[in-house]
């Protein structure tokens, strides 16, 4: 379930660096400020791009890999930019029994990404969640903070269609690009 890192355009990279630097100024250079820094940077940028992590590492005088280790340890940190719409597939006990993992597979296939990743056009990001407290509606997918019940693979297509996201043409684009 390793989240694949996507490349960031270089103009955006520069902007991320500047933003990170600005945030860093308010913190002490002690190692214990690492997590508060990460939270604040993610609060600003929405995620933790590579250039932000290297900036932070340099500021705290620790190897960048240590920052990465912490970022991957905690679920609250993201390595990919948030999409315009967030898709969270419930894999709690009830949803699991009702085939939540099949729904997850459908999302993965339709969006062409793995959990904790974002589509290239940054329209959708995909993640899993362990129970959102409405087990009677299982299998549940939380779409932009709204729990949708009975999301089986066909419903996945329906939800995407409602966003005007034509997966068929998307797929076609992809195959042409290849």
């Amino acid at each position: 379930m390793t989240a694949k890192k996507q490349d960031t355009p270089s103009g955006e990279q520069e902007q991320h660096k500047q933003e990170t630097k600005r945030i860093l100024n308010g913190f002490s250079r002690k190692r214990l400020s690492l997590i508060p820094i990460l939270q604040k940077v993610q609060g600003k940028l929405g995620y933790l791009p590579r250039e932000a992590m290297t900036e932070i590492a340099e500021y705290l005088d620790i190897p960048a890999i240590d920052v990465y280790g912490v970022v991957t340890f905690y679920n609250q940190f993201r390595l990919n930019p948030p999409g315009k719409h967030s898709i969270r597939v419930c894999l709690g006990t009830a949803c699991h029994m009702k085939g939540g993992y099949i729904t997850l597979d459908a999302w993965k296939r339709r969006l062409g990404i793995n959990p904790r990743e974002t589509t290239e056009d940054r329209e959708f990001d995909l993640d899993t969640v362990a129970c959102v407290g409405c087990c009677t509606m299982a299998p549940v997918t939380v779409v932009d903070d709204k729990p949708e019940g009975g999301v089986e693979p066909t419903r996945v297509d329906g939800i995407l269609l409602a966003f005007g996201y034509d997966t068929v043409t998307k797929d076609k684009d992809k195959s042409e690009n290849k």
Partner: protein, 896 residues
Amino acid sequence: MEAVTITLNGVEVSGYAGTTILDLARESGVYIPTLCHDPNLASTGACRLCLVEDERNGALLASCVAAISPGMTINTNSPRVVEHRKRILELILASHPDSCLVCDKGNRCQLRKLAAEMGVGLIQLQKIPQNDVIEEVNPFIERDLSKCVMCGKCIRVDQELVVEGAIDYIHRGTMVRAATLNDMPLEKSECTFCGACVAICPTGAIMEKERVYTGTATNTVTTICPYCGCGCTICLGTKDNQIVEARPAVDSPVSRGALCVRGSYGYDFIHSPERLTQPLIKVDGEFQEATWEEALSRVAEGLGQIKKDHGADALAVFGSSKCTNEENYVLQRFARGVLGTNNIDNGSRLYSAASRTGLGASIGYAGTTGSLDALERSRVIMVIGANPEISAPAVAYAIKRAVRFKEAKLIVIDPRNTPLTQFASLWLRPGIGTDVALLNGLARVIIDEKRLDVEFVTRMTDNFTGWTKSLQNYTAGYVEDVTGIAKKDVQAAARLLAGAEEASIVYGNGITQHTSGTDAVVAIANLAMLTGNAGRRGGIFALQRENNAHGACDMGALPGFLPGYQSVDEAENRQRFEEHWGGSLPTAAGLSALEMMKAAGLGKVKGMLIMGENPVASFPQPALIRKALSSLDFLVVTDMFPTETVKLASVVLSAASFAEKEGTFTNFEGRVQRLHQAIEPVGESLPDLEILLRLAEVTGSKMPYDSHQDVMEEIEDMVPFYRHVAYADTDSMGLDWGDVEGSSPGTRRLHKGLFPSGFGRFSPVEYTSPQDVATDGYPLTLMAGSGRYHFGAGSRSSRSARLSKFSPAALLEISGADAAELGIGDGDAIKITSAQGELSTTTKVSNSLPRGLLFMPISYPDSPVYELFGTVLDPQAKGPALKTCAVRLERTDGNG
């Protein structure tokens, strides 16, 4: 410290408070199995296999992290302990693949060894494979994390010993694995391919690439790495007279279980198909294979004829800073005693002559004053004109460890952004060639602020007052004007250096390869003496490019010195050797390396014997050198490969590599270390020592040595500071000069601040504006230096398949600012032109350079960067200025 007594398996044993149970058990000869423990790394208690039971309360303790406490009653093998260990091992094996039959780790696998020991065979737990992709794009390291047992040794060795920070744990719980930043492949990470993780991995998860599944080494021989001046101990694994692997020696005082990419993977030149396996004689411009008898009698005849017709001084001998002490000693005896000339020099003239001259004049001893341990203990380390990460990795590891784990402060003085700058408290970026001004400026600040070590200066040095006067001009303001370094930074550096209990100064070719090299070395020595750091504590660390640069000079492969720096001018010195060798020795100092070439060009030198050097590639102006060597009547070269120089020879004598011979190397610290033969010489090649002894016999001057031991014994007799190096002692890697200095009269080291002549001498040196930087018409300054993946003139590293594959060509590094101004991008074809020559190459934009400075690595035979350099010599040391020169650039790819 307080002693603590515990009961260990029923026996009372004592250790200091704070000792772990494991360490005490090992001291007492009690075996406890371990997996994640390594003596060079901090223990983490991750694997829990070292469990022991405290019988008082039944507690199970991880012995590698549990300290002893009074009254403990430890049982290392109770039924409970054994049961738990077995269960832990079974759990580890449950997620380990059953690929042992084909795994190249073979019998060195610690997991397999532990399983065998404990009798764990069939795993009755459900197997949970941790599938992973085998990473194998780079030519050095193959990672198969499905075999990983999460002991964390690779991560700890990377962070604690090498201090690179390329890998760490990512994710958590069952997903945890060792990975690089953003989980990139190694070649796209910070990884330097030092191979420390490969050597330490207890399983087959991290393996050496391009030799897996070829079977395991059947024998291991401990010897010394032949590349840089660090002299790391390496263990060569052999199989069927082939070297199949190189590993760091865990107990080496130099490398401590970590090598660099050259040491770990550069050994394959030994079995390169290009190796010369037979002597060659040139007949009508073509080489023909010959027997040793034919070749040596041809050499004896050729050299003899020239001596007869033109006198002994028409001959010159060039020794090698890559060959052993014994070989260089015999070579200079051959030159002086048999040929009768002092025209002998060695390859270190090209990079460390200034060091020898400058330090000799100041502290009376021509080399590093402390050991690597002393460097690592220092509170402040100043690195000037050196990039040890590349040129002396073991030194860089020590510096980084000192900074990261021992809170030392680092001052880096370098115009380039080197890997060490990120560890530095202070990074000064002086203009090229302004080191003398900066060093004098630092000294002046220290004196003005009365921060000098008064006691040391008064008791141990002379000419302080005279020298102080010479510093009048070097005010912080003047230094700022000359070097471009802000006043406050100069002051901060001076205060840091003078304020430290122990401070060390590390310098390298960035100092010695300038025309003002000797002056800068003197200025460094002045600064060290002023702060009381010349050997008593801290020290001066003069990095050497090649493995035996120190030794070759110690052995007298120098035009002006007999072995042990005994001047040839003095009859008394000569007499000692004459008595020993018989006959009379030439009196006047001979020609240095570049003077020989010049004399050859002028027809004054007519015959030359070159041992293991490649002047056509390593000297400035290759075209001129080639012409000079071609014009010789007779040229003999001993080498392993058909180098550019070998091609010009009349007779080529095929030499054996370091792995095929015995002898000693002296590393940059002055540590004399013993080589051990790992394999038989390839083909009919012979060790240089054997070649020289046979040659001496053919010329009718047989030397009374039967082996390298005989030679070393004579060296011990004749060279004062090698006297206490009993040949057997050089074997024990633990031997430090500190152990023996008390007992020997000719103290080699300057520990405790003892100067050989009794006093260190302050000498005034003046800053002169540099000649080797950008001028009119040549607006950029080109710097030449070592690259990580190649070495020296590249004769060996370019024939190492893996190194060449990973780093096939030299690229010109250019700063972003210059690139933008000249409209040059990454990978553009360009032509570099200097007053001396031109060179075509491709560019790489680098953010480590300041505006106006270019960098080009040496060691790539296809891009001979020394074509661009002139033959300007340091007037005192007679070494060429090979660090920088003025150039201009042109794009040659048509669209610029």
